[in-house]
Amino acid sequence: MSKRTLPRLLQTPAVLLLLMWMLVPLGMTLYFSFIRYVLNSLRRPEWTTPSLSNWRGFGNYEYVLFKAKDFWFAVQNSVLIVGSVIILTVVLGLAIAVLINRSFPGRGIVRVLLISPFFVMPAVNAVLWINMILDPVLGLNGLAVAGLNEMIAGLKSFPVLGGFFSLWPEIEPISFRATQTSAIAVIIMVTWQWTPFAVLIFMTSLQSEDQQQKEAAILDGANAWSMFRNLTLPHLGRPIAIVVMIQAIFHLSLYAEIEIVSRGNGNKNLPYLIGEFATNNIGAASATGIIAVILANIVAIFLLRMVGKSLMD
């Protein structure tokens, strides 16, 4: 047995499994994307079985890219959701990490409370937020606004102040199930879930910061902001890249949250659109899937180049 045989042998099962996982379904998707294939068609029953005689060439791609009305909307919405969540979690994560990067009473408990949302099942996260918190009638959103309105109504009967408060309009709670706001609801719940992750990583990184350098900077009369900009932020470059990469991996395939909040009503991303096509038009679903794979790979190449090098040393 040569020196290299054993390590290769140990890697083989993992490599083979992942290779099959990638190639088999992906190959089928690629095949389906070039044929006419629907699950139900009374008019053209021959299209209901996948067969080479239903070859459609790039027809499915043409249909998805230029004729199906939701494709570009879904792409835009994917970018909106992933981009907003990443920006919000990085900014909030940084702020909170700096905030708790000092010793104070109960710091351990604060950490535990802060990290908890990360472990909540996405399905529970979505059900909890959309029904019990954001719902305009029964959720806290609705109850809080109703309470506020009631308070203002009560104040109206006060002798002098009443005149002032009677000018106030009745406030309406925001409905998060409407077309545009449902994307905001998704952004809120995913940000809630992933900010803790950013906090945890930034905090770990902050603790390894060179304290002597900071002390020297203080002696030189640097203020807190310039120290943060010139010392802390560069130190956090790598962790920020990692937070962005991992979140991109997870959020590009976001699904449960979209499904639960709006059932795709006015708010869908690429995975959701594929799911919708797949209820009947497998050809279009597969073509969309291949496009999604290509887009994800572009993002992946970009991200892995960004962090890939630093991971190995």
């Binding site: 290299r4 390590p7 140990l10 890697q11 099962p13 993992a14 490599v15 992942l18 088999v24 379904p25 992906l26 905030l99 708790i100 000092r102 104070f104 009473p105 535990v112 409370l113 802060l114 990290i115 949302p117 990360f118 472990f119 909540v120 099942m121 996405p122 529970v124 059900v127 909890l128 029904n131 019990m132 029964l138 109850l143 803790p196 945890l200 990583i201 770990t204 390894s208 304290q211 002390e215 962790p239 991992i246 590009l252 395939s253 449960a256 499904e259 639960i260 690429l270 995975p271 797949a278 497998i282 969309t288 899937g289 291949i290 999604a292 794979v293 994800a296 790979n297 991971l311 190995m312």
Partner: protein, 278 residues
């Protein structure tokens, strides 16, 4: 820390209070879910009973009646446990070989593995359904869910294990070889004690990811292998009528995992950042 010593009296009170406030705000939805689970369905939507109500365990006691909770919970436990085990059985040897005996291709293999994680699930869902329903006959079986869960977690697990294994100093193992320790002894007495912590926290994290997975488990199951994610998704629109019960079943679904997460938060950082944050 010198910097803290310099902060003003105002800062000494203000920043901790702010930190506590932020933490409580972030924890609030979870608190609210647990809190609501002790209300009756009627109380849960009454503004006058928002904070003052008669606590009840009714929702938890009736969980089996209302939701058939145990069937889903048992499926979650079985699939997550076996998937974690399978992932480790495949992942540990691979990560070990890559960390201790890297070749020129090792880096590329690792990056490629991570890139399989970016394969959009939606793109390959239909072929998977097609294959498992029509050809393999394993649709809606625990076996399929175990397989899929371990495949989607394998890249992350290998990365994490690789990170941990790489930190074990090679000198220790070489010193062992010098002293004439056998391969088996090397594994048993040197490697296992050193790698144990890393493997354990990787397993924990893998278990958490399996437990929370929604996309595949919802779509590749109907009744036989359905997990807690499916149970929650199936009850996504309670229309306010069942806030109490829904909260109880949600609490029961995430409670064990959140508590588990508290214990492995430190390892989580180390592992998920692939050791790039020091």
């Amino acid at each position: 820390m010198a910097i803290v010593a310099q902060s003003s009296k105002f800062g000494k009170v203000f920043w901790p209070v702010l930190a506590w406030t932020v933490a409580l705000v972030f924890f609030f939805p979870i608190f609210w879910m647990v809190f609501t689970s002790f209300k009756t369905d009627a109380d849960a939507v009454k503004p006058e009973h928002l904070f003052v109500f008669k606590p009840t365990l009714e929702n938890y006691l009736n969980m089996t009646e209302n939701y058939d909770y145990w069937r889903f919970a048992i499926n979650s436990v079985i699939t997550s446990t076996f998937a974690t085990a399978l992932t480790l059985v495949v992942g540990v040897p691979a990560a070990y070989a890559m960390a201790f005996d890297p070749s020129k291709a090792t880096k590329d293999i690792l990056v490629w593995m991570l890139s399989t994680k970016m394969l959009p699930a939606a793109a390959v869902l239909y072929p998977m359904t097609f294959l498992t329903k029509n050809f393999l006959g394993i649709y809606d079986t625990k076996f399929l869910i175990i397989l899929v869960l371990s495949l989607i977690n394998l890249p992350i697990v290998i990365w994490m294990l690789f990170t941990y294994f790489k930190e074990i100093p090679r000198e220790i193992i070489e010193a062992g070889k010098m002293d004439g320790v056998s391969t088996w002894g090397e594994i048993k007495d040197i490697l296992v004690p050193l790698a144990w912590g890393g493997v354990a926290s990787t397993a924990l994290l893998c278990f958490i990811f399996c437990w929370n997975e929604a996309y595949w488990t919802v779509r590749l199951t109907t009744t036989e292998a359905a997990t807690l994610s499916k149970l929650i998704e199936g009850n996504r629109a309670p229309e306010g009528l069942f806030f109490g019960r829904l909260s109880a079943v949600s609490t029961a679904a995430v409670g064990p995992i959140v508590v588990l997460g508290w214990f492995c938060q430190k390892q989580l950082v180390q592992g998920l950042t692939f050791g790039a944050v020091k």
